[in-house]
Symmetry: C2
Subunit: 339 residues, 2 copies
């Protein structure tokens, strides 16, 4: 029912189990032996039990990847690429989504550990502090982290949100905007903090008061559409919006349309993160973009280096993936420059 074992194959081929194992693993065997075993394997449709194998070799060929949200389009491409690269290296992906819940993260990490994964990939959705770092410390397998400010002892790949948002903001400032709002989710986590830092730095470097840099953290529950409405209902509303993530961008655009505000005539918009839709919108939306493939390459590369012991002794790698501002049609000089 469940399938055949190596014993069955040995009996069928009239050889010892050791020899079957050798054939299966491509070790030195005679031609005749290989032929006999291959025939028996084919006849029975035998598939080796990788659990038993893992038990002996102490290697599972599985890599755990813990993300915050699989359905986030900004993540999807990365997961896809990680899966492909892992498989190309004979590894299998164990995927789990934490929904940004610390307890879920801890649970999943424990599960990965019980399953003795050969490596761990993780985008922390809660702040990687105390308990989490300790757990990672004790994890017992190579780790590559993404999107965070981690201690140097961990390999990590980060997207350069800070420079990206800074240049996006500077672009708006150069156009003449003086009051700009940044809407970002999870402002207390690293990605949010980086974006805010870049945003403020642009104002500072331009010699402008940071009070004009309106930071509006978006909570997961909060409706961006409402928040944008509030933002606009003041005497001196912002003339430009920097928006992060599909949901926030979508929510903001909805409000703007309801109010019949035109982009970019009445308000300029920049999206942090590029999807298929930004180019389709009317007008096309200027966006900050980065390569999901590069992130995946770096992540898997850093992990494999550790698994294969290539980086033995060396300090864990740190990769920063650059961002690029794609200029489209959603930004223009404000109606009343310098106001």
């Amino acid at each position: 029912m469940t399938g055949f074992t190596i014993k069955d194959v040995a009996r069928e081929a009239k050889v010892s189990v050791g020899s079957v194992s050798r054939v299966l693993n491509g070790l030195a065997v005679s031609e005749a032996m290989k032929k006999k075993v291959d025939a028996a394997v084919a006849k029975l449709g035998y598939q080796p039990n990788s659990l038993a194998r893992s038990m002996r070799t102490r290697s599972t060929g599985a890599v755990g990847f813990l993300v915050t949200d699989i359905s986030n389009p900004l993540y999807g491409a990365t997961i896809n690429a990680v899966d492909a690269r892992l498989r190309a290296n004979g590894l299998m992906l164990l995927l789990a989504s934490s929904g940004n819940r610390l307890q879920t993260e801890l649970d999943v990490l424990a599960e990965f550990k019980r399953r003795r994964v050969d490596g761990l990939l993780m985008a922390p959705g809660s702040d990687a502090n105390g308990p989490m770092l300790e757990t990672l410390e004790r994890f017992g397998a190579p780790i590559a982290l993404m999107s965070g400010d981690f201690p140097r002892r961990f390999a990590s790949v980060t997207t350069d949100y800070r420079s990206g948002v800074k240049s996006a903001t500077r672009y708006l400032l150069d156009l003449g905007h003086r009051r700009i709002a940044l809407l970002t989710p999870l402002a207390h986590l690293w990605p949010g903090r980086e974006r805010i830092a870049g945003f403020r730095a642009a104002f500072r470097e331009a010699g402008l008061p940071e009070q004009n840099a309106l930071v509006r953290p978006q909570n997961l529950g909060l409706d961006t559409a409402d928040d944008v409405a509030d933002l606009l209902d003041v005497a001196q509303p912002p003339t430009a919006l920097v928006l992060l993530g599909t949901r926030i961008l979508a929510g903001a655009l909805r409000t703007l349309r309801e109010r019949r505000l035109r982009i970019p005539a009445d308000l300029s918009i920049i999206s942090i993160g590029d999807t298929e839709w930004t180019a389709v919108h009317e007008p096309p939306i200027t966006a900050l973009r980065w390569s999901a493939d590069d992130v995946a390459d770096a992540l898997v590369g850093l992990l494999l280096a550790q698994i294969n012991g290539v980086a033995a002794g060396a300090a864990p790698g740190r990769v920063t993936v650059p961002t690029e501002l794609v200029l489209r049609g959603s930004c223009a000089a404000p109606r009343d420059p310098g106001a």
Copy 2:
């Protein structure tokens, strides 16, 4: 290094390994025993090796999910929901993406089998025929398939594309459209065929010539934008477009904008599949929607029923998830009705 074994815990607690196992599995033990073992486990930070456990119990607690494309937003929500439901049932998700390549599918299935997954979830990306069906037949673990027309012996959940596209098409016909084009990817696979069938059925039932039902299959390589351009460059171009999938919808919208064709004044549009963006587009796009949560619920439900032996003897379940046409602003009567 790798971690402690049950033997270490037994020694630490000064009890036998059998007793440790019993405590770990919540079997009958004395209070004193439980206390001693728990203390030792905590002290060592022991995590049971689930490989060894699986080997004895012949259950891995892992479910393989083979999809065609993780980054497809239409899939992302389903994967997320499947992950959550699986974990709620103590199962772990092994995810792989085939990119619609048959060989990759076969490879992944073999790998899942070697890993002795407790169940298989799959959305075939190649047509589920001969070799694939045979492979599934011999898989040796419960299976629940999605998006396809499978033999009755397999449990499956399908989205009712046929009725959905039919009612979408009828909606356009009722508005007065007579020449309508359907753009769908992978027309040779089940989902594509179902949509085409529904599309044609609407014409047939309305007593209209099926030649007016313009089916334009989209190959993965082909640029939809170009194809839409071709489609419009004829004496009697279609007055409405039914578009499937993010990429095709985006490509088509791009062409329409370049040509300064207005929606819905010059052309009506319906999207098969709803995302956050359809509602944001100007005008908001009328779309056919279905619940990713319902698909995930059905899929996991059908699998668990088999794993837990609830459905023993009964015919494998078949679930059809309904679709719903969300009316927004992208459809209107054609300029020249009945032309």
